[in-house]
């Protein structure tokens, strides 16, 4: 089981801040494919990955990253702090 977190407009489009999924996806990209199949909201929010950033276990990474042993994956738009 992996906790999936969504922030900012991804959270709003998907309609959830968080969900637990049973997955054996080997990479973030494979997980994204599975998430897109969950609902139209997921498919729309994750349609253009150029507008999406990902963190695995709270470390920024990229879509090729492996998910071996991962507990938490977060998807969000490019950050706008400061």
């Amino acid at each position: 089981m992996i906790d999936i977190l969504y922030f900012a407009w991804l959270r709003e489009r998907i309609g959830l801040p968080k969900e637990r999924v049973e997955t054996s996806a080997p990479t973030v990209a494979a997980l994204v494919e599975e998430l897109r199949a969950r609902s139209d909201h997921h498919a729309l929010a994750l349609s253009d990955l150029r507008a999406v950033r990902v963190a695995v276990d709270q470390e920024l990474t990229d879509f090729d990253a492996p998910l071996t042993g991962a507990r938490e994956v977060a998807f969000f738009p490019p950050m706008t702090g400061g």
Binding site: F7, A8, A55, L60, P77, M79, T80, G81, G82
Partner: protein, 149 residues
């Protein structure tokens, strides 16, 4: 000599940037202190700014950035405070402060922290206006600013 630990706070409560700067500078033997304060700008019709963050990751990311700034610019101290939640125009959003033996390093450390914080710390801003609300889009210039480091 041990490497100094940064002071990092992520909070909803407001804070007095002047008092924070004085406390940071108090007894600071470094010789140079630089600070930056970010304030909610009135961009015409703005009612409030909502700042969302990623609890846990935000603190980790800010601490890692501040550790890196201390290492690269030989800082004696670094402070980062960033608020989240709903903020009004004119309210303080965040501040950074750096202390170093040399002025240039204190300035560079603060600029490095600001540049990284803009596009690598998990914060998202939403502008609330009478006409509606909109997420602030990331700017390519902020991303480009990282290449100089």
């Amino acid at each position: 000599m041990s490497v100094p630990s940064p002071h990092v706070r992520v909070q909803t409560e407001g804070f007095d940037a002047g008092a924070e700067l004085n406390a940071f500078s108090q007894g600071q033997p470094s010789g140079a202190v630089v600070s930056f304060t970010g304030i909610v700008r009135d961009s015409g019709g703005l009612q409030a700014m909502e700042i969302e963050h990623y609890p846990g990751m935000t603190e980790r990311a800010l601490s890692a950035m501040a550790d890196e700034a201390i290492r690269r610019f030989t800082l004696d101290a670094a402070l980062v405070i960033h608020r989240h939640g709903r903020l009004g125009v004119g309210e303080v959003i965040m501040m950074v402060a750096t202390a170093s033996r040399h002025r240039a390093q204190a300035f560079q450390g603060a600029e490095f922290l600001m540049d990284y914080l803009k596009s690598r710390a998990p914060f998202w801003k939403k502008e609330i206006a009478a006409e509606g609300a909109a997420w602030v889009a990331a700017r390519q210039t902020d991303e480009d600013a990282l290449t100089r480091w």
